[in-house]
């Protein structure tokens, strides 16, 4: 039955059908509209030469009738601009509103304003007659682009195999609705005069939407509730429904990406957000957090969405934890990201200070301090070149004069939060950004205060650059060298070391070397 209708559809649409197995873009179904039959015949021949399936009609009304019969009959529409009754712009407008099919315009008139008008109305391309094969050969890219960047992310191949199934029909209906709103964003006033006003999702409005979703909970968020929460005139339930749909799709896409990347190192992830269970994996983490690097912290103003998101997937959620629509999992991701980035620093701090009483900040989080003590063994390897604890203590006392840095660094940490939250207030057309903005919006406050705590501590060892463990090490060494509290033997040894190269007396050198070891 289904096959039968499929056959009928094709025979209706297609004039020359090749029996070879078709690979996209072969067999792409094109509706060609031109009142000029010479041009139309020519266009049809060119399209057929490109192995597309062509239906040629001479007026917009017939074209529209065919499209409305079943919009899945065509992948793309090519229309002339100047036509009696219904001109190309009108057809383009209706097609854009009612269905999700890319439209290419063509005209003998290469007037710049005409081209501009066509593009503003949402035409994918504007071809100037005469139509050449070179141009037509490439139009499949518009179809591909259309299909690749659909929110549901279906591939072209799939699309082509089930183009007549109900599932596609439903999906395309949903998309056409979305396209309406995006089209409106693009083309502005010209079209909106003809139809009911549409909502433009401005950053502030998107922020409200995010807040509402967060407040209600993503799983329970239904358009009606969000509408009540937002309480904005001119925003209808349908607007919110479509936006929510987009938002969810973006989330799904994003989390799918995250899980894909995390599956590579699931073994080392353990339960993210609980560093205590994954003691052994820290060395790995350190290398990763180096990737997260000082640059990010330095260039606070310029943290990009992409980078943030990438970092999330870097520390991706383990597969067991993953729920596509769950805020919690992303929060965890978010907090785990923060935990991990801090771990190297925390370790350094603890390494230096664990014998110092009165460091109250850490005891507020017993879990963390436990973890960090576990880490000391490992770190001793790393810091073996360090002097004894007493000097460390002195060193620390010495640095305590750097207290003003505390303020600077707390500003810095709030800067981090600001930037991440700030990203939430901007709505981007890109899907990824929805994910990014959401996670940043819902960043747990605990984690961020934790971050500021650590940044403050860290600043004791010097300016911002010292966030990287290696830097801290070297700067501590510097402090140590400058410190007056060095033991005398160190002085002597150092002195002798520098001198030993120019000592002539063999006996004395022997003594010195003995002493040195």
């Amino acid at each position: 039955m289904d096959q039968q209708t499929e056959k009928d559809d094709h025979s209706k649409v297609v004039k020359s059908e090749s029996k070879d197995k078709e690979v996209f873009p072969d067999g792409m179904r094109v509706l060609a509209v031109d009142d000029n039959i010479v041009c139309l015949r020519m266009l049809q021949a060119v399209l057929e030469h490109c192995r597309y399936k062509v239906k040629a009609v001479t007026d917009g009304a017939t074209a529209l009738k065919l499209l409305r019969e079943d919009k899945n009959n065509f992948d793309i529409v090519i229309t002339d601009v100047h036509m009696p009754d219904m001109d190309g712009f009108r057809l383009l407008e209706i097609v854009s509103l009612e269905m999700d099919i890319p439209v290419i315009m063509m005209s003998a008139n290469d007037d710049k304003n005409m081209v501009m008008k066509g593009i503003k109305h949402g035409a994918r391309d504007y071809l100037v007659k005469p139509i050449r094969k070179e141009e037509i050969q490439n139009i499949w890219q518009h179809v591909l682009r259309q299909k690749l960047f659909k929110p549901n992310g279906s591939t072209v191949k799939k699309e082509i195999t089930d183009q007549n199934s109900n599932c596609t029909t439903k999906r395309q209906r949903g998309q056409s609705k979305e396209r309406e709103s995006t089209l409106n964003n693009d083309s502005g006033e010209d079209i909106s005069a003809h139809k009911k006003p549409r909502v433009v999702w401005k950053p502030e409005l998107h922020k409200k939407f995010i807040d509402a979703v967060h407040e209600i909970g993503i799983d329970k968020a239904v358009p009606k509730k969000i509408l009540e929460y937002i309480n904005e005139p001119g925003v209808s339930r349908e607007n919110i429904a479509s936006h929510l749909q987009k938002f969810r799709n973006a989330m799904k896409k994003n989390s799918a990406r995250a899980s894909q990347q995390s599956s590579n190192n699931v073994d080392s992830n353990g339960t993210s957000g609980h560093p205590s269970n994954t003691t052994i994996t820290y060395p790995k983490r350190i290398t990763q957090t180096d990737g997260f690097d000082v640059e990010n912290i330095k260039n606070l103003g310029s943290i990009q969405h992409g980078r943030v998101v990438q970092n999330f997937s870097f520390f991706g959620i383990p597969a067991t934890n993953q729920k596509p629509f769950s805020l919690q999992s992303l929060n965890q991701q978010c907090s785990s990201l923060q935990h991990y980035t801090q771990v190297p620093e925390i370790m350094d701090q603890v390494q230096q200070r664990k014998h110092i009483p009165g460091l109250g900040d850490f005891s507020s989080n017993p879990l963390r301090i436990d973890t960090l003590h576990h880490q000391t063994d490992f770190n001793e390897l790393k810091y073996q070149s360090f002097p004894s604890r007493t000097t460390m203590l002195d060193d620390y006392m010495d640095i305590s004069s750097h207290i003003p840095y505390y303020n600077a660094s707390s500003e810095l940490s709030s800067g981090i939060n600001f930037t991440l939250n700030g990203s939430g207030t901007t709505s981007y057309p890109n899907n990824i950004c929805f994910g990014g903005s959401r996670t940043s919006c819902t960043m747990p406050t605990v984690a961020s205060t934790g971050l500021s705590e650590i940044v403050q501590h860290d600043s004791t060892s010097g300016p911002v650059q010292n966030f990287i463990p290696g830097h801290i090490q070297s700067s501590n060494l510097e402090h140590f060298m400058q410190s007056d509290n060095m033991t005398s033997i160190n002085h002597v040894l150092e002195h002798l070391e520098t001198e030993s190269s120019i000592i002539d007396d063999e006996d004395l050198r022997a003594v010195v070397t003995q002493f040195q070891h």
Partner: protein, 156 residues
């Protein structure tokens, strides 16, 4: 003997085409048209060109009619016709006809009746020249196919 005839006809066709290109009567779009002619549509060029002739004569009649009305000429309608003419002429590569159309349209946009009349005469002249030459070409093509067709069974 007949085989030679076919070759000679082909050479004549090429010479005529070269002349038309040289005169700027045709442009490379006509070659596109020829390239589109293959086994599936062996008469594609003559088919399209005949549609073009038919449409163009209709348009020329309409344009003549619009300009013959001395009092009020519908320049807007004239512009629409000229757009059509331009579109189809450029599609088959009738370069000179198209260029005259551009001039004609410019005159019609300025409501320049004298300019329009002069342009119309030029257009008719160019169109006739193109039509005669293309007919010549198609006749040669027909003869060539016939000649080649006769030679073919002789070789078998």
């Amino acid at each position: 003997m007949l085989g030679f005839g076919a070759d000679r006809l082909r050479a004549d066709m090429n010479r005529l085409l070269a002349l038309l290109f040289h005169q700027g009567v045709l442009d490379e779009q006509f070659l596109q048209l020829q390239q589109l002619q293959d086994e599936t549509s062996p008469n594609f060029v003559s088919e399209v060109v005949n549609i073009y002739f038919h449409e163009s004569e209709k348009l020329l009649r309409n344009l003549r009619g619009l300009l013959s009305d001395r009092e009020l000429s519908d320049y807007k309608k004239m512009g629409i016709h000229l757009n059509q003419f331009m579109g189809s002429s450029s599609s088959i590569g009738a370069k000179r006809v198209r260029n005259v159309c551009v001039a004609f349209r410019a005159a019609s946009e300025q409501n320049n009746r004298v300019g329009c009349l002069r342009a119309l005469e030029m257009l008719e002249h160019e169109y006739c020249y193109l039509k005669n030459r293309l007919h010549e070409l198609f006749q040669m093509e027909q003869q060539r196919v016939m000649a080649a067709g006769v030679r073919y069974p002789m070789q078998n």
